[in-house]
């Protein structure tokens, strides 16, 4: 067994960290967040130049065929640096395209940095249930038209193309009858409303009115694809969360050593020492689970994949809540200001928790796997 990252992986991480330290400072990021676009073309170009868009794409399409472990390294750095560029959405979209097959040209574009993607999987009523779908698709062959509404689409307004889950058959909650589609962002019948989030990202609500769409994979059989893709996305988010928790933990530890009250660093108070120790234990457990998920998400055994990813998303979510809330608390008044990165890490961690299934959702999914009972 080997828990170390390979040299190339470490190099990716180092390159990202250097760029973030130099050009993506907290202040630079703040400007981007409050700009009209909410993302930075320049930052995107740097990510492209650093090979980040090519990393997850198969070699045949000009990528590096990076594994989920490679992506873990990258996502950790983006989490640490609170990067708000539409990278996660694009990588997840590319993963769906690769899983579905038949979209080689688009993948080449993604690898080269010329195409951003977003994944419209949520519906306003559905909370975390990705199978709860009322968006309708009608058509045949590869050509369909979509009608209905998707919400909380991460970086939906910044993407050139969308991966959309919709219903070609079955009832609202059925896993049968779900299909995945590719929709051009410029197509007719599409209204995309961009909105900020409190963690500096963007989400869109998207209304489809007979919007032209191309079928990905086979009709009505999209659920296994959707689940596998969402598990990959959850794995990326776990890694991002670990990076954010690392940074938040380090900042809090530093604060406890430097902030003085009653004539002594507040880190000398045992109540706070124990709190930090608890945060440390959470962080280590979360890190282990993020690694496990990255190592197993590509498993051909779908049940194992579901089990491990849900375990990771649940455990990381719990750690993120505890570490986020406590880090803010230990910073006192400073913790609830917009001025320190600490609050922003806390907010990002909260939003990661709400994306692609919260801790409770994944606890239940974990317990619902057949193996959970069979092993008894």
């Amino acid at each position: 067994m080997d828990f170390d990252f390979k040299e190339e992986q470490q190099q990716f991480a180092d390159a990202l960290r250097r760029w973030i330290d130099k050009d993506y400072s907290f202040e630079a990021r703040r400007k981007i967040v409050h700009s009209g676009a909410g993302v930075s073309e320049q930052a995107w170009q740097t990510l492209v130049d650093l090979g980040m868009t090519a990393l997850p794409v198969p070699e045949a399409q000009g990528g590096f065929n990076g594994s989920a472990v490679d992506m873990l390294v990258v996502m950790q750095e983006l989490g640490r640096g609170l990067v708000v560029e539409p990278y996660f959405a694009t990588v997840l979209g590319a993963h769906f395209l690769a899983l579905a097959g038949g979209q080689e040209e688009l993948l080449e574009k993604v690898a080269a940095g010329g195409l951003k993607l977003a994944c419209a999987l949520n519906e306003p009523h559905a909370r975390h249930a990705l199978n709860d779908i009322v968006v309708r698709a009608t058509g045949s062959g590869k050509d369909f038209a979509l009608s209905g509404m998707k919400s909380a689409v991460i970086h939906g307004a910044q993407a050139g193309a969308l991966i959309v889950s919709a219903r070609t058959g079955g009832d609202q909650h059925d896993t049968d009858g779900i299909s995945l589609f590719l929709v051009d962002a410029d197509t007719s019948g599409l209204v995309i409303k961009d909105c900020r989030t409190l963690d500096g990202q963007r989400v869109a609500s998207i209304t489809f009115d007979h919007a032209p769409a191309t079928l990905l994979g086979s009709e009505g059989q999209g659920w296994p694809l959707l689940e596998a893709g969402a598990d990959y996305g959850a794995t990326l988010l776990c890694a991002e969360a670990v990076g954010a928790m690392d940074a938040l933990f380090a900042a809090t530890l530093e604060y406890l050593k430097t902030r003085k009250q009653f004539g002594t660093p507040i880190g000398s108070f045992q109540a706070l020492q124990h709190r930090m120790a608890d945060m440390f234990i959470h962080l280590e457990q979360a890190r282990s689970m993020a690694m496990l998920a990255a190592a197993k998400v590509a498993s051909p055994d779908a049940e194992e994949r579901r089990r491990v990813v849900s375990a990771a998303k649940a455990r990381v979510g719990q750690a993120a809540t505890f570490i986020g809330q406590q880090a803010v608390q230990l910073h006192g008044g400073m913790g609830v200001t917009d001025e320190l990165a600490a609050a922003h890490h806390f907010k990002r961690l909260t939003m990661i928790g709400l994306t692609l299934g919260d801790a409770q959702h994944h606890l239940e999914r974990f317990a619902a796997q057949p193996g959970f009972r069979e092993a008894a």
Partner: protein, 396 residues
């Protein structure tokens, strides 16, 4: 033992309810219930409505314009206001500086300030904390040096809640640096329009302008603005801290938020059923509800000891009350799931009629959750409250 309200209490409650039904403006109620942000005018408008009725300062003695209510009546009033969703009567004037003026101020100060506080003619803010002095408040450094008929004040206060609107600030200042830190502090009232006072906003994590830094650069303050004796300010500050402490439990507000949460969880769906019917979620809500029931009784038990001076029990109320508020908001966000993501400040500030994310009820809740992390930090952090419980109640 009898845990029921008396017939007189119930009659009083009915009277309060009628007043609120007839006088609480619908637009204010909507803002409060919908977790939207309040403007200065909102607070002032409501305060003046209540003042006209003679109820703006429930805890004040009748001689200063209080309604002459007992502690149970005051509790009922707060409970009903919270239930209806009134804007709060801000504590800085009515509940903080006024009791100190009554107890330690001179006749001229009482005659000038108290009626103005009662009627909300001045907006007050609290100048205690400093960048280097939060939990260790007594280490404060802002100085006031006597110069003839004035004090010259220099230094900085911070976290000054809603100080951007303030006419007056009550400050703890150091008048004698040579003695033990608690002994050289004085209690001074300062006009915010004095030359040399600068207010700078601190933006909170939910992007709200709620607190400020206040700088004093050679600010001349008339000696008439000193409360009580020079260097006795710490005693007055402690008196203030022990005053009317059951309100911090925020039981009434949490009861309203619990109902809001339940309605939200009835609306939100899980597997085609209301989320509130989901056993795991219902258990979380039930846990908070039970905690809140317990806290309400604990508050009532504290109130029943009205004749005793308020003691360290207030720390129990502060810790649990703040945690309940935070847990309720956390569950609201959990109930929303991804619908909590869109953030629309214009809607929160009442500048836009529709929420950008499309869901008016959901729109403010993430910001609300983030904002409420403050409740375990301000007014003496929960760690400090637990130190008080350990030391003052448990004798550890």
């Amino acid at each position: 033992m009898d845990l029921n309200y008396s017939a007189e209490d119930e009659a009083f409650r009915a009277q309060v309810r009628t007043f609120l039904a007839e006088n609480l403006p619908a637009d204010l109620q909507e803002k409060v219930r919908g977790h939207l942000r309040l403007a200065k005018e909102d607070y002032v408008r409501w305060h003046k409505i209540v003042a006209k009725q003679g109820w703006a300062a429930p805890a004040w003695p009748a001689e200063y314009g209080g309604p002459g209510w007992n502690a149970v009546q005051r509790h009922i009033w707060e409970d009903e206001c919270a239930r209806a969703g009134t804007p709060p009567i801000l504590p800085f004037g009515v509940n903080m500086v006024a009791p100190v003026i009554m107890a330690f101020g001179n006749e001229a100060q009482k005659a000038h300030y108290l009626p103005r506080i009662l009627n909300c003619d001045d907006w007050w803010c609290q100048g205690y904390s400093e960048p280097g002095s939060g939990s260790d408040l007594a280490s404060l450094k802002t100085t006031a040096v006597r110069d003839g008929e004035h004090y010259i004040v220099n230094g900085q206060k911070t976290w000054t809640t809603l100080g951007q609107h303030a006419d007056m600030i009550f400050c703890l200042v150091r008048t004698d640096p040579s003695v033990r830190k608690q002994e050289g502090i004085s209690f001074l009232l300062i006009d915010m329009k004095s030359p040399g006072v600068t207010v700078r906003p601190i933006i909170m994590l939910d992007e709200e302008h709620e607190v400020n830094e206040v700088f004093f650069d050679n600010v001349k303050v008339p000696v008439q603005n000193l409360i009580g004796q020079e260097n006795k300010g710490w005693t007055y500050a402690k008196y203030l801290l022990g005053h009317e402490r059951t309100g911090i439990a925020a039981v009434g507000r949490s009861k309203r938020e619990l109902l809001f949460l339940k309605r939200l969880a009835l609306r939100q769906q899980k597997d085609g059923k209301p989320l509130l019917d989901d056993p795991a979620f219902a258990a979380k809500v039930a846990n908070i509800e039970i905690e809140l029931m317990a806290l309400e009784v604990t508050v009532l038990r504290t109130i029943a000891q009205e004749h005793q001076a308020p003691g360290p029990q207030a720390s129990v109320l502060k810790v649990r009350g703040s945690e309940i508020q935070q847990m309720l908001a956390e569950l609201m966000v959990e109930a929303l799931g991804p619908a909590a993501l869109p953030f629309d400040p214009a809607y929160l500030e009442g500048e836009s009629e529709h929420a950008a994310g499309g869901d008016a009820e959901a729109a403010p809740l993430a910001a609300y959750y983030f904002n409420l992390r403050k409740t375990s930090i301000y007014g003496g952090s929960n760690e400090i409250q637990k130190n008080i419980i350990a030391q003052m109640i448990l004798g550890l």
